[in-house]
């Protein structure tokens, strides 16, 4: 694949458009690899998002534009390490509502969620909060109209077709379907985030 558009973002950054989440994941993985092999000039941040990758902290973004435009990038991200398995108690306050939106019972909603292979597309909102893709678009759910003022850490939520796990107590508008005891964010750990972009993730129902 090619980068569809290279958009300058100020004088030190480039926003690369690729037109989709999977392609953004693939581009991110490849850019990280190119930085490791020294083929990419020094850059402070490589930030994947829903359909773009941001390169920030470039000395001379202009000189990189053509190289990025002309280069052929892999279509998919490498499989990478084994999937992170998160044990979840599926007893969230919005589970029934999500099941109703999906037109199934709660048991089937849990089955759908646990048999899906997820991947961390990008992080944001809070350190260690990953936006996990894997659910089909038609299972997308709206955010809650009134966000909760306090969501406990480990809460597993849905918004759109994304799944996310709250790393710490925070306000939040995602539909909560369960809770995990896994520690999502620990600054004394390297890497601090359990779910970094590119990581594969599976959820496992536990009583």
């Amino acid at each position: 694949m090619r980068v569809t558009r290279v958009l300058p973002m100020g004088r030190r950054a480039l926003l690369l458009e690729v037109g989709g989440t999977e392609r953004a994941q693939a581009l991110h993985a490849e850019l990280v690899r190119l930085r490791e092999t020294g083929e990419l000039p020094p850059v402070e941040e490589i930030v994947p998002a829903a359909a773009t990758v941001l390169l920030d902290g470039l000395e001379d973004p202009g000189s990189l534009t053509e190289w990025l435009r002309d280069r052929e990038f892999p279509d998919t991200a490498p499989a990478g390490a084994a999937a992170v398995v998160l044990p979840v108690r599926y007893d969230g306050p919005d589970l029934a509502g999500v099941a109703a939106l999906w037109g199934v019972d709660e048991e089937e909603a849990v089955a759908i969620h646990t048999r899906t292979e997820f991947r961390v597309a990008f992080c944001g909102f809070a350190p260690g909060f990953g936006y996990l893709t894997g659910l089909p678009e038609e299972l997308g759910v709206p955010r809650r109209t009134v966000p909760r003022t306090s969501v406990p850490p480990g809460s597993v939520g849905l918004a759109g077709a994304y799944t996310g796990v709250y790393p710490r107590t925070s306000p939040g508008g995602w539909q909560l379907i369960g809770r995990t005891d896994a520690v999502l964010w620990d600054v004394s750990r390297e890497p601090a985030a359990l779910l970094a972009p590119g990581a594969r993730v599976r959820f496992e129902a536990v009583p």
């Binding site: 100020g10 950054a13 991110h28 490589i46 930030v47 941001l54 990008f122 992080c123 909102f125």
Partner: protein, 292 residues
Amino acid sequence: MSGAGVLEVLRPGALTTVQDLGRVGRAHLGVPRSGALDSPAHRLANRLVGNSPGAATLETTLTGCAVRPDRAVVAAVTGAPCPVRIDGRPAPWGAAVRVPGGAVLEVGAARAGVRSYLAVAGGVDVEPVLGSRSTDLLSGLGPAPLSEGARLPVGPAPGPVPWADAVASAAPGPPSDELVLPLVPGPREDWFAPTALRALARGVYRVSAESNRVGLRTEGPALERSVRGELPSEGMVAGAVQVPPGGEPIVFLADHPTTGGYPVVGVVPREALAAAAQAVPGLKVRFVPLRR
């Protein structure tokens, strides 16, 4: 004057945080850059006391702070101009001063601007988190904002202080009658009406009291969008001017979220962000679009 010591916080002020040059290289994990908002002033304070630019200083907000070192230290206050007192006696601002052990070092309220920087030789030596001592108010990383009675470790002084009569300052000082923000057209300029950049340049904006370390909020004419709907989240940079549905532009500062879903109409170059950090609420803001 070498050896580690402690600063006791006697008066934390409205908001005083520990700041260095921030956390680099973890934006992909959702970790904001953080760091001193007025980076030139932070660097100058460190230089005056003989620290490296990456040593941690204290960043005050409007009302200053007061600390008491347990042993003699060399200190300097830069950024927003303010009265500096040592045990009640006036001391120079913007210069290295010797503070005896047990004396009270008072950083007074800003006479202009918002944020003053207090550096002590050896730097504020709190435990770094992910490579930085900065307080990140968006995500809560780093030390908590100063509170009365808190005790901050100070590192060993790096060596003799470079006594200088004057140091040429790269810091432009706080903006007085208006804040001028150059603006490079942004990646989502096409999400706005063709006249939006001109409207932004002509409109009269003022610094909102809601501004903080995350962003400089402005009040003024709303920018008209040409594309409705939601922009998928994308990576953000410091200086990015985001326009939420209300239409009033926000200039992202050091504690900005790493990804965001509002279109970026333009980006204020890094060099101009120190002035934005010193803009008091109510100050007039003028955006000056540049060529890409």
